[in-house]
């Protein structure tokens, strides 16, 4: 590096103006403003409240969405009541056969007599 180059290197030059930068590189985001916002301290309380609000909005919009779009036939059932019948008798409660079958409950001996020979 010769003496001229050395002097040129140590020469103090002013920065190009923002206007000049804009004209050369095109106008980009105003980083100074953005940086200002980003650097701003965020309070814990606001962060929690914001997260809670976003969560609630998400929950209700999802719920609303499912009510609007889910076909009725596959909508989830909310309550399922299962009642097991403990019948007092040994007859099935949903047996709609005529009650002449009732005699099956007790002791029963059944035989068939072949009287064809008489």
């Amino acid at each position: 590096m010769d003496e001229f180059e050395l002097r040129l290197k140590n020469l103090l030059l002013s920065k190009p103006s923002e206007d000049l930068r804009g004209r050369i590189f095109g106008r980009g985001p105003d980083r100074a403003v953005l940086a200002g916002i980003l650097r701003r301290p965020i309070r814990l309380g606001w962060a929690v409240a914001f997260a809670l609000a976003i969560g609630l909005v998400g929950f209700f919009s999802a719920r609303l969405q499912s009510e609007i779009t889910a076909p009725r036939s596959i909508s989830p059932e909310v309550i399922v009541e299962i009642c097991i019948v403990e019948s007092g008798s040994n007859r099935n409660d949903f047996d709609l056969t005529k009650p002449s079958t009732h005699f099956l409950s007790g002791d029963l001996t059944v035989g068939v007599e072949d009287r064809r020979g008489i």
Binding site: R43, L44, G45, V48, A49, L52, R72, S75, P76, E77, V78, I79, V80, E81, I82, C83, I84, V85, S87, G88, N90, R91, N92, D93, F94, D95, L96, T97, K98, P99, S100, T101, H102, L104, L108, V110, G111, V112, D114
Partner: protein, 363 residues
């Protein structure tokens, strides 16, 4: 640190508030009585007003298998099952919508299967399943000509899918689906006329659309095709909150009750009536479960001495119709209704027998 503690407390309060709101939210209570009737019976049913809520085509599909009614009389020999919009009787005995009421009807051909009471969220699909685990017995003819008794494990039962909503003080159930898994009959055994053969299992499904009044009894009679019996579903509906139900259970126990929703000074109040040991008890409850007032029927000899003396002094010779002990936030009063010389007298007294109000009805 202090701020996050405050926020946490607010969050907990919000959660608690949402829970209170959920339990104070009005739901639809459906109370059922489900019967099976087999064999011959005579029936006489009527319906005061149209409750079918769908088109004629839908009704045409089910009308041979389904009868809707609010008044019905079913005769099985000498015995009768009678239903009207307020009560249900087997001969002279009232059959209530109480789960705990153990009813064995003294007749082979009618059985009360179950009387469930369910609390359903409005506009949410819910399913009520009732099934019997009881095995089925039947005979088969053996090769040697004798008969063998066999058992079959099969799940029979009833499933009611429902999605209730409230419209202009009515309960609208546009898409009820009732599915029944039943024994519709028996296979014939050659040489035997008795229906003791292997069970014929059938599944029947009915789609109904109903629009019914609150607090009124209705009946659905289902006649499965080819079956030798019918299934009778009695039901009524109420608008109620979980908190009110808990208050009823706490104050009255597991009893049958009538409930009416009223508005007093802009607030919803549930008027609940029941009879315990022949005595009338009424409680008025707010939707959050707090009691506005409680009225209990009393006997004269159960009243404090001062109140008894006051009644003797103010209503001497009168015929006492009813005495009520009334408790509310305002305090305790006794209310006596009596008939004196053809006049209806209502006396309200304090605990010390002081007459607070006297109302005379000349008619």
């Amino acid at each position: 640190m202090k701020r996050s503690a405050i926020l946490f407390a607010v969050f907990v309060c919000l959660l608690a508030a949402s829970f209170v709101c959920a339990t104070s939210e009005e739901q639809i209570q459906l109370r059922f009585q489900i019967y099976t009737i087999t064999g011959d019976m005579s029936e006489d049913t009527s319906l005061e007003e149209r409750i079918w809520n769908a088109g004629e085509d839908g009704w045409r599909k089910v009308r041979d298998a389904v009868t809707l009614f609010d008044r019905g009389r079913f005769r099985l020999g000498k015995d009768r099952l009678e239903i009207d919009d307020e009560a249900c009787f087997w001969n002279k005995t009232e059959l209530t919508f109480t789960e705990s009421q153990n009813v064995t009807l003294p007749h082979d051909r009618i059985r009360r299967i179950y009387s469930p009471s369910v609390l359903l969220e409005k506009e949410k699909s819910s399913t009520i399943r009732i099934h019997s685990d009881q095995s089925l017995e039947y005979f088969v003819k053996r090769e040697d000509g004798l008969f063998a008794l066999k058992q079959m494990e099969v799940q029979t039962g009833l499933e009611i899918m429902i999605r209730p909503k409230e419209e202009r003080n009515r309960v609208v159930m546009d898409d009820i689906v009732i599915t029944m898994h039943i024994v519709g009959g028996r296979e014939r055994i050659p040489g035997l006329s008795l229906p003791v053969g292997p069970p014929v299992l059938e599944t029947h499904q009915y789609k109904l659309a109903l629009r019914v009044r609150f607090h009124k009894n209705y009946g659905i009679l289902l006649r499965p095709e080819r079956a030798q019996g019918v299934i009778l579903i009695l039901f009524n509906t109420s608008a109620i909150t979980q908190n009110v139900l808990e208050t009823i259970k706490r104050e009255m126990g597991d009893v049958s009750y009538d409930i009416k929703r009223k508005t007093r000074d802009g607030e919803t109040v549930y008027e609940v009536d029941t009879w315990i040991g022949g005595r009338h008890i009424e409680i008025n409850v707010f939707s959050d479960g707090t009691i506005l007032s409680k009225h209990e029927e009393m006997n004269l000899d159960e009243l404090p001495k001062l109140v008894q003396d006051s009644i003797a002094m103010n209503l001497g010779g009168a015929e006492i119709d009813e005495i009520q002990k009334r408790t509310s936030a305002a305090g305790l009063v006794y209310r006596v209704e009596a008939d004196q010389d053809g006049k209806d007298i209502t006396l309200t007294m304090g605990e010390d027998g002081t007459v607070l109000d006297r109302d005379v009805d000349e008619d």
